[in-house]
Amino acid sequence: MILAALIMNTQGKPRITKFYDHVSVERQQEILRVVYSVLSSRSGNLCSFVEADDIFGPDTKLVYKHFATLYFVFVIDSAESELGILDLIQVFVETLDRCFKNVCELDIVYNFGKVHTILDEIVMGGQVVETSSAEVMKAVQDIWKLERVGELNPANIRGIGHYKNSRS
C-alpha cells in the first residue's frame, strides 16, 4: 500500500502532502523534516529508493524522483513494487505536465486543489487506481468542466448564495 504521497521542493518546503492513514499534524511535520534531510543528503544518480523503516516502520521505503526544484516522494510498504511506483510518479508528473503545460513548482503551489484532484484519480485510499495519464486527464477534465458549469449556471446554484454563520 502507498502510505503517503509527498511533493516538496529542494528547500524542504512541502508542496503537496497526502497521508493515506491519519497522521497528526506534528508528526507530519516531523516526517517531512526527516524525509527532506534524507533526500537532500543524497546526490544525483544514486538509487531512487531509501529504506524508511526508522520513519514509517518496518518494511517501508521511500521511492522518490527529483524534477527540477521538486521532489516527488511516495512512501510504500512491501506490497508495492518499487520500480512500478517509480513509473507511477512518472505518470503523475506527466499528467501534471499535460494539465499545466510545462508544469513548474509555482503551478503546483497555486493549483493545490487541482493537484489533489489529479492525485486522487491516481491513488485512492493508498491503492493505485489508475495508471494511464490519458484516463486521468479525461476524468479530471470532466470534473473541471462540471465545476465550471456549476459556477456559471445559476440553475445549479439554487439560491444558496451565502453561508449563514451564527457566531457562537
Binding site: K13, P14, I16, T17, H22, V25, E26, Q28, R42, N45, L46, C47, S48, F49, V50, D54, A79, S81, E82, L83, G84, L86, D87, L88, Q90, L106, V109, Y110, N111, F112, G113, K114, H116, T117, D120, M124, G125, Q127, V128, V129, E130, T131, A134, E135, A139, D142, I143, W144, L146, E147, G150, E151, N156, I157, I160, G161, H162, Y163, N165, S166
Partner: protein, 1054 residues
C-alpha cells in the same frame, strides 16, 4: 490574457531590465493561471504563498502564517461569507495546516462545505475534510449523512467524490451506514464509479474485516467485471485477502494465471498500455498474488510455469538494451514469484539470468533490485552468489547508502563461519559511519547475532563485542554483556585451563587499554569492571593496587552511574578478598578508601551494602574469605535436581500428618472457587502488605494457590530461614546474583520450557517454501540453540553450505583485471575456505593469522584457518561453546520458578518450619519468624515483613530486565554454606553488640532481606514498607533471595 502578459514582457525586455522581466514573468504566469482555472486565483492567496516563499527565516515565515491564521479566524466566522470566498478560506486553511500549523478552528467549516450543492464547493469541502480529519474525529458523524446522500446522487462525479472521501473518513462504526450503498455502486454503469467502489470496499476490508466477511465473494465476482480497470482494482483487494488466507483462494489460481496470460499476450485494449507494455501494473499485481498462491504448493506452482516463462520472454529486452523501467519492474516481480513458488530449474535459470543483468547494470536502481533478487535466489541456490561476488563487492563499496545497506542485508543472509570475520568487520566499519540510533541498533543486533553464531574464536568474539559496545553503547541489550561475561567465566567449554586463562589475561589487557579512553558507554564499563575484578590479578602481571586504582578511576569518572559504581565496588571487593585469600595484607589505597567511604553514605542501599561488605571482608581471616569468594568461582558448575528428591521425605511426613497434597493451579481453581479471591490477591503480590506481617502463619494454608512465578511472598523466605544453619545461611544471594547475571530474559524463557535459538533465524527470514536439502540445512544451521542447556544434539553452527563454496574461487580469478584488494575480499567473502591452507585448529587456532589469501588486510587478525573439510568437532565448536557456557547457569535459573513451589505447597497446611526443624534437627533459632520469636529481636520482624517486597522484587527482576549487579557472583554451588557470611555480615554491622558468631547464626535468617535496608526502614516507622519498596526498586535488586538453591539443601542433608 497570456498574450497581454507577453506584450508587457517584450516591452520590458526592450528596456533591458532583467529584474523587471523576472517580475513580469511571474505576473504573467499568475495571470495566465487565473484564466486557466478559476480555482485559487485570489490575490490574497497568491500574496500569502509569495510572502511565505520569500520569507528570509523560519521566524519570519512563522509570523506570516500566524497573521494569516488570525486573519482567517476572523473572516471565516463572519456571518455571511460568500460561498466562493469560503471555499478559498478553506483552501488557505489546508495550506496553513500543511505548513504545520493548527487549523482546527476551521474544520467545522470544511465539513459544512461538503453539504454544498455546488460540485466545486463540495469537492473542496471533501478534500479539506479528508486532509484535516481522521476517521475517529468527532466531526465525522456530521459528514456521514452527506456521504450517504452523495453516494445516491445521479451525478457520477459527486458519487466519485463521496467514494474518495469514504476511503479516508469512514471508521469501523460508520461502515454499516454506507456499506449497502457502496455495494450497490458495484453495479453502477460508469466503470469509474465501480472502480472506486471496489477501492472503498477494500478500504473497509482493511479497517474492519469482520464487517466485510459476508462480502468476500463480491471481490471474486468483480474479477469478472467486463472493464479491465475495475478488475485491476479488485486485484488490489484480492492481494490483501490472499495474503491473509491463502488456502481460501487456491481455487482462483487458474483464473489469475489465465488473466495474466491474456494481459501478457496483449489482449487488453491499447489504452491500457504503458510505454508499449501491456497493463504492467496489472501484471505486477498478478505476479504478487501468484507468488502467494504458489508458495509451498507444488501443484499450484506447476500451473504457473508456462505463464511465467511467457511473461519473462515478452519483457526481456534485446541484447545490450537495458530495457525500460517498467519491463524491468515486471521482470523483478517475476524473480520474486519464481523464488517464492516451487519453481523448476528452467525458471530458476531465467531468474538467475535476469538477476545477473540487474547486477551488471549501471543504474543504481537496477543494482538495488539485483541485490535484492540475489538474496532471494541464493536462498534456493547458494552457489549462485559466487558468480556475482565482484558485483556485490562493488555495491558494498558504493557511495550510495541504500545500496550499501541492502548489500549488508545480503551478506548477513549469507554469513557462515568462513566469512564471518570479514562480514562483521564490514558491518562494524559501516556502523562507525552511522549516527542514528535506529539503524545502529539494527546493525548492532545483527553483528551480535552473527558473532554469537559463527565466532571462530573466543578472543575474536570478545574483541568484536567490545567494538560493538563501544560504538553502539547503551543500544546493546544488557543480556549481551552478560553473555560475554559468562563466556569469559566458562572459558571455551573444553577443559583447557591454560587457554582459558590466556583468554582472560588478554581480556584484562584489552580492558585496561580501553579504560584509558575518555568516554565509554556504561555497559562496556560494567563488563570491564567485572573482568578486572574477576581476573585482574589472576595471572600476576598486575598488582592489586593498580587494578583497584583503575576501578576507582572508573567509578569516579561516572558519578551518576550507580550500576557502574556497583560493578566497581564489587570488583574491588573481589580483588581484596583474593589478596586476603592469598594471605597477603590488604591496605586500601587512599583513593579507594575515600570511594568506599562515599559509598558507605550512599543513598543507594545497594551500593551501601556492597561497601559494608567490603569493609567486613577486610576484617576477616584468609580461610573464611577464600571460601566466600573463591578464585575463579564464577565458572563452576552448579548441579541440581529439579525434582528435589531430598525433600521427598519431608513431603511424605507432611502428608502423613494430614497436609493436603499439592494441586497445580488449574486444579486448585477448579476445586475451590472460594479460594479465588485469595488467588487474585496473591497474584497481585507486588502490592506490599501493610505494616508488620503478623499473619505469616496463616498464609501457608492459603498459599497453595499461587503456583505461578509469584512466589507466595511470605512463605518461601521464611521457610529457608528456618532451614539455614548458623554458618550456612542462605546463599541465595550468590545464586540470585548469578541468576541475574544471566539476564532475566533467559531465565524466563527457560521457565517456559521453550527452546530458545541464538537470535532469530536469519537465512530463512522468508522461509523458503521448498524443503530442499539446502534450505533445510540452512534452517538447521541457523538454529543454534541458545538456552539449550538440555538440548545437546543441537546442530553445528557452521553453515553446512560452507562446503559448497569451497574451491570454486580459483577459476574466477582470471576473468578480468581486478584490483587485488577486491579479489582478496571476494575470496574471503565467498570462497574464503578454499584458498586457505594449513590448519592450526584448537581453541585459539582462529586467532593465529593465516597467510592465506583469505586475509583481507594482513595487518589484521587472520581469517580462521580451519581445515576446509572441517571435522565435525571443529565445526561444532563455536556452537557448542556458548551453549555449554550457558548450561549450568541456565539451569540454576529454573529453580527460581514454579518447580520449587509444589514442595512448599504440599506441606502448606501446617507449620512448615516446625516440620523442617524437626527434620533438620537444628535447634530452632527462635528467630525463625514464628510468632513466638517476635519478642526476640526486631531484626526478625523485619526479615519477615521484608521478605515480601524483596521476593516480589526478585520475581520481577527475573521477569523484567534489570542491570543487576552480580554481587558475590563468584560463589558457586559446590562450596559449603560459608556464604551465609555475606548475608550476615551486614547484620554484624547493624547489631554490633551481638557477638559475631551469634550474630551470624541468628541473622542468617534475615539474610535474604538485604539487611541495611532493613535497618533503615526499621527506623522509619509505619511508612517503611513503602520506603523499602522504593529502595528495593532503586537498587535494582542487587541481592534478592530467590530462595531456590537446591544445592543448599543437598549440603544440609549430606
Amino acid at each position: 490574457m497570456e498574450s497581454w502578459a507577453n506584450v508587457i514582457m517584450k516591452k520590458a525586455f526592450k528596456h533591458g531590465s532583467q529584474n523587471t522581466i523576472d517580475q513580469l514573468k511571474t505576473i504573467g504566469r499568475e495571470l495566465s493561471m487565473g484564466t486557466q482555472g478559476n480555482w485559487l486565483s485570489s490575490k490574497e492567496y497568491l500574496d500569502l504563498v509569495k510572502a511565505i516563499g520569500e520569507a528570509k527565516s523560519k521566524a519570519e515565515e512563522e509570523r506570516i502564517v500566524m497573521a494569516e491564521i488570525e486573519h482567517l479566524k476572523k473572516r471565516i466566522m463572519e456571518p455571511d461569507v460568500p460561498r466562493k470566498k469560503m471555499k478559498e478560506y478553506i483552501i488557505r486553511l489546508v495550506y496553513v495546516e500543511m505548513l504545520g500549523h493548527d487549523a482546527s478552528f476551521g474544520y467545522i467549516y470544511a465539513v459544512k462545505m461538503t453539504h454544498d450543492d455546488n460540485l466545486l464547493c463540495k469537492r473542496s469541502g471533501y478534500l479539506a475534510t479528508t486532509l484535516f480529519l481522521n476517521e475517529d474525529h468527532d466531526l465525522i458523524i456530521l459528514i456521514v449523512n452527506t456521504i450517504q446522500k452523495d453516494l445516491k446522487s445521479d451525478n457520477y462525479l459527486v458519487v466519485c467524490a463521496a467514494l474518495t472521501a469514504v476511503c479516508k473518513l469512514i471508521n469501523e462504526e460508520t461502515i454499516p451506514a454506507v456499506l449497502p450503498q457502496v455495494v450497490d455502486l458495484l453495479g453502477h454503469p460508469k466503470e469509474q464509479v465501480r472502480k472506486k467502489a471496489v477501492m472503498a470496499l477494500h478500504r473497509f476490508q482493511q479497517r474492519s474485516p469482520s464487517s466485510m466477511s459476508h462480502l468476500l465473494t463480491k471481490f471474486r465476482q468483480i474479477l469478472c467485471d467486463k472493464d479491465p480497470s475495475v478488475m485491476s482494482a479488485a486485484l488490489c483487494a484480492l492481494f490483501d485477502l490472499v495474503s491473509a488466507d491463502v488456502k481460501g483462494f487456491k481455487n482462483l489460481t487458474a483464473s489469475f494465471v489465465s488473466i495474466l496470460k491474456q494481459v501478457a499476450e496483449h489482449r487488453l485494449p491499447k489504452a491500457y498500455d504503458y510505454h508499449r507494455t501491456p497493463a504492467p501494473f496489472i501484471q505486477i499485481k498478478l505476479l504478487k498474488i501468484l507468488a502467494l498462491l504458489g508458495a509451498g504448493d507444488k501443484h499450484a506452482s506447476e500451473n504457473m510455469y508456462s505463464v511465467l516463462v511467457d511473461v519473462i520472454k515478452k519483457n526481456e529486452p534485446g541484447k545490450g538494451d537495458p530495457g525500460s523501467n517498467i519491463t524491468n519492474a515486471i521482470l523483478y516481480e517475476c524473480i520474486c514469484t519464481i523464488t517464492a513458488i516451487m519453481a523448476n530449474s528452467k525458471l530458476l535459470g531465467l531468474a538467475a539470468e535476469i538477476t545477473s543483468r540487474f547486477l551488471k547494470s549501471d543504474s543504481h536502481n537496477y543494482k538495488y533490485m539485483g541485490i535484492d533478487a540475489l538474496g532471494r535466489v541464493i536462498e534456493i541456490n547458494p552457489d549462485f552468489a559466487e558468480e556475482h561476488q565482484l558485483s556485490v563487492i562493488d555495491c558494498l563499496e558504493d557511495q550510495d547508502d541504500t545500496l550499501k545497506r541492502k548489500t549488508l542485508d545480503l551478506l548477513y543472509k549469507m554469513t557462515k563461519s568462513s566469512n564471518v570475520e570479514v562480514i562483521v568487520d564490514r558491518m562494524i566499519s559501516y556502523m562507525r559511519t552511522l549516527s542514528d540510533a535506529h539503524n545502529k541498533t539494527e546493525i548492532a543486533t545483527r553483528i551480535i547475532e552473527l558473532t554469537e553464531r559463527f565466532a571462530p574464536s573466543n578472543q575474536w568474539f570478545i574483541q568484536t563485542m567490545n567494538q560493538v559496545f563501544e560504538l553502539a553503547g547503551d543500544l546493546v541489550p544488557v543480556k549481551v554483556a552478560h553473555d560475554l561475561m559468562r563466556l569469559l567465566s566458562k572459558g571455551a567449554g573444553e577443559d583447557d585451563e591454560e587457554a582459558d586463562s590466556l583468554l582472560r589475561s588478554s581480556a584484562v589487557e584489552s580492558y585496561l587499554q580501553l579504560l584509558a579512553e575518555p568516554k565509554l558507554p556504561s555497559i562496556l564499563l560494567q563488563v570491564a569492571c567485572w573482568v578486572l575484578g574477576e581476573y585482574g590479578t589472576a595471572d600476576g602481571t598486575h598488582n592489586a593496587d593498580d587494578i583497584i586504582g583503575k576501578l576507582c578511576d572508573v567509578a569516579e569518572a561516572h558519578p551518576g552511574d550507580n550500576v557502574v559504581k556497583g560493578y566497581a565496588i564489587t570488583a574491588i571487593t573481589k580483588i581484596c578478598s583474593f589478596e586476603i585469600g592469598a594471605g597477603r595484607e590488604v591496605q586500601l589505597i587512599p583513593e579507594c578508601r575515600s570511594f568506599v567511604d562515599d559509598l558507605l553514605a550512599s543513598h543507594s542501599t545497594d551500593l551501601q551494602q556492597r561497601a559494608y561488605e567490603l569493609q567486613v571482608f577486610l576484617g576477616l581471616g584468609a580461610d573464611l574469605v577464600r571460601k566466600v569468594l573463591p578464585v575463579n568461582g564464577s565458572g563452576e558448575e552448579i548441579e541440581f535436581d529439579r525434582e528435589l528428591p531430598f525433600l521427598q521425605e519431608f513431603v511424605d511426613s507432611a502428608l502423613a500428618n494430614g497436609a493436603r497434597p499439592y494441586l497445580d493451579e488449574n486444579e486448585r481453581l477448579g476445586v475451590d472457587s472460594g479460594m479465588s479471591s485469595f488467588v487474585s490477591s496473591s497474584r497481585s503480590h507486588h502490592e506490599p502488605s501493610h505494616g508488620l506481617r503478623f499473619e505469616a502463619y496463616e498464609t501457608p494454608t492459603l498459599a497453595v494457590s499461587s503456583g505461578s512465578a509469584a512466589v507466595p511472598s511470605s512463605l518461601l523466605p521464611d521457610f529457608e530461614e528456618s532451614v539455614t544453619e548458623p554458618t550456612r545461611s542462605v546463599r541465595n544471594q550468590t545464586d540470585s546474583s548469578q541468576v541475574d547475571l544471566l539476564g532475566p530474559e533467559v531465565a524466563r524463557l527457560r521457565l517456559d520450557g521453550v527452546q530458545r535459538k541464538w537470535g532469530r533465524t536469519s537465512g530463512s527470514s522468508q522461509p523458503s517454501p521448498a524443503p530442499t536439502p539446502v534450505s533445510e540445512q540452512q534452517r538447521r544451521g541457523s538454529g543454534v540453540s541458545e538456552g539449550a542447556s538440555s538440548n545437546n544434539e543441537s546442530s553445528p553452527a557452521a553453515e553446512p553450505r560452507h562446503d559448497t563454496y569451497s574451491s570454486s574461487f580459483e577459476g574466477k580469478k582470471v576473468q578480468r583485471v581486478i584490483p587485488a584488494e577486491k579479489q582478496r575480499l571476494a575470496a574471503s567473502l565467498f570462497g574464503g575456505s578454499s584458498v586457505q591452507k594449513g590448519s592450526s585448529g584448537g581453541v585459539n587456532g582462529g586467532v593465529k593469522a593465516s597467510n592465506a589469501a583469505g586475509n583481507v588486510r594482513p595487518s589484521e587478525k587472520g581469517v580462521p584457518s580451519r581445515p576446509v573439510a572441517g571435522s565435525g568437532k571443529e565445526k561444532n565448536w563455536s556452537a557448542a561453546e556458548p551453549k555449554q557456557a550457558s548450561s549450568s547457569l541456565m539451569d540454576l535459573v529454573d529453580m527460581s520458578g514454579d518447580d520449587l513451589l509444589p514442595v512448599h505447597d504440599s506441606k502448606a497446611s501446617y507449620d512448615p518450619f516446625k516440620g523442617l526443624e524437626g527434620l533438620l534437627g537444628v535447634p530452632s533459632t527462635a528467630a525463625s519468624s514464628t510468632p513466638a520469636g517476635l519478642g526476640k529481636s526486631t531484626m526478625d520482624f523485619m526479615s519477615l515483613y521484608d521478605s515480601a517486597p524483596v521476593v516480589s522484587q526478585s520475581a520481577s527482576s527475573l521477569a523484567g530486565d534489570s542491570d543487576v549487579l552480580p554481587l558475590g557472583h563468584r560463589r558457586s554451588g559446590g562450596m559449603d554454606g560459608a556464604n551465609g557470611v555475606e548475608g550476615g555480615l551486614m547484620d554484624l554491622n547493624m547489631l554490633p553488640s551481638v557477638s559475631p558468631l551469634a550474630g551470624l547464626g541468628e541473622l542468617a535468617q534475615s539474610s535474604s532481606s538485604s539487611s541495611p535496608s532493613t535497618g533503615v526502614s526499621d527506623k522509619k516507622g509505619p511508612s517503611r514498607q513503602h520506603s523499602l519498596q522504593k529502595d528495593a526498586a532503586s537498587r535494582q535488586v542487587g541481592v534478592t533471595p530467590t530462595g531456590a538453591n537446591p544445592a543448599l539443601f543437598q549440603d544440609l542433608f549430606g
